[in-house]
Symmetry: C2
DNA sequence: CGGTGTGTTGAGTAGACTCAATATGCGTGG
DNA sequence: CCACGCATATTGAGTCTACTCAACACACCG
């Protein structure tokens, strides 16, 4: 029954395989993405907004975030990236990057050149479909984030955000129902949730005092998972990943 | 110099050609997408949130919007679709649709089945790359919308939204520097911008009285394009479409 | 000619913001 | 080992943006 001879257990291979059945040759092509392993310090800007010729990366270790800057100096964090995530895809598909990407912790990542991607698509066409699928799942997360900003109160946003992050981390084995380790500052939360840092602090205090969730010393602890889900209206359907759909 | 014998001038062909040079055979495959022409009344729900087995559509005429509903009955409009736009791609890539799509005006659209897409990707692999490219451009718009909701004031949001819509309509010949015809109600604007309908009304009045823009009787008139762009911090780089990039 | 959808305006409220001061923790250099 | 600086977290006070509720205007349509 087992037709695969290769069992490449990289996070990316696993992620893409969730959408499209990849042949051995497809998987071998993917290997090329892991040739250029890099290491970056916290705060390092991997991709600069407006940069031309940018690379993409596959995150192996640590946290990063993608963001856009506004003319008045404020910033909006679009998404956080955790181990296994692809990062900066749009910045290689387009001439100039429409967003910046910054390391939050010390990170390890494989640099993927524009030519790596395009060659891969040319030699292993199914990869293009697989990447489209993965990119669409990322887009679904951005859309949910957008709903969060547009129609939810500060506390609902926070609840939703922490639950989504928790769910994503669980998928890669970095958290469980009780909580997860989290290197983000309240400024990161503010920039992601469209709030002021001061208000983030107040909201966190309120939620802690109400026995919902405790964010302290780099750890998020879910004190009442069920009630948190109620407040957030958290569905999780959009994070859905199921077995290979295309043979 | 001209290697193409086919000149299929559909909006979608033009859009995809902006990213990837399509062969005659690719373009012929695309033709299959136009077999099932449909017509829908205003308010018709083309895709229901949570629907399984949904189709996608290519919009030929009229306006539509994609949205998500919240448990309390509110809705957040994620994007508006205008002629030439692809609509509901994520709803066929995933088992269940994470968003709804509704006709705003009477519309004409070609229904694209899941199998149409997947067959096309199998027979004309470059199409998968082209669609990935187009989907990424759409994602860039969603990201800019997200920034709008997270970090801009009501007036800035409105300015940015109207300018973006104007720019997109210009690309398909449905508007110019002076303005464009717009079938949206103030409720649509409210649901898109994360504001209450009452506040949308006030903001529009304020902008009209300040000689910025006039939205009346189904027409948006830019009274001071430059100042509007200043207020919005409108860049337009993310809408960028240039000649074929991949041969 | 009344009903329904849309737009308009006023009055009062509340959630989130800004400014400002004060902790707390950590790394570096003396 | 202590002192200092810097980043982050916390709390208070006052303000403002955008919201809710409510009333009314206008147009289109059956």
């Amino acid at each position: 029954m087992e037709t695969r001879t290769l069992t490449l257990d990289s996070p990316l291979t696993r992620k893409l395989s969730a959408f499209v059945a990849l042949s051995d040759s497809d998987q071998e092509t993917l290997l090329h993405f892991y040739r250029r392993r890099r290491r970056f310090q916290p705060g390092h800007e991997l991709i600069h907004e407006g940069q031309t010729k940018a690379s993409a990366y596959i995150l192996a270790e640590g946290w990063a975030c993608s963001y856009k800057l506004l003319s008045d100096g404020e910033r909006q964090i679009v998404d956080f990236q955790i181990p296994g995530d692809f990062l900066g895809l749009r910045s290689i598909l387009f001439r100039t990057s429409d967003h910046g990407i910054e390391a939050i912790t010390r990170i390890e990542a494989s640099e993927v050149l524009r030519s790596d991607i395009l060659d891969a698509f040319a030699h292993a066409p199914r990869l293009a479909t697989a990447v489209l699928w993965a990119a669409s799942r990322d887009e679904a997360m951005v859309v949910e984030h957008l709903v969060n900003l547009g129609r939810r109160s500060a506390e609902e946003r926070m609840a939703h955000f922490l639950l989504e992050l928790g769910a994503r981390l669980q998928l890669v084995g970095l958290g469980d129902r009780t909580g997860f380790d989290c290197p983000l500052t309240q400024y990161h939360l503010a920039d992601a949730l469209g709030l002021s840092a001061v208000h983030v602090n107040r909201v966190l205090r309120h939620m802690r005092e109400n026995g919902l969730v405790t964010f302290r010393n780099g750890r998020v602890a879910f004190d009442d998972f069920a009630r948190l889900g109620d407040i957030a209206g958290f569905d999780m359907a959009y994070l859905d990943q199921e077995g290979p759909r295309l043979r």
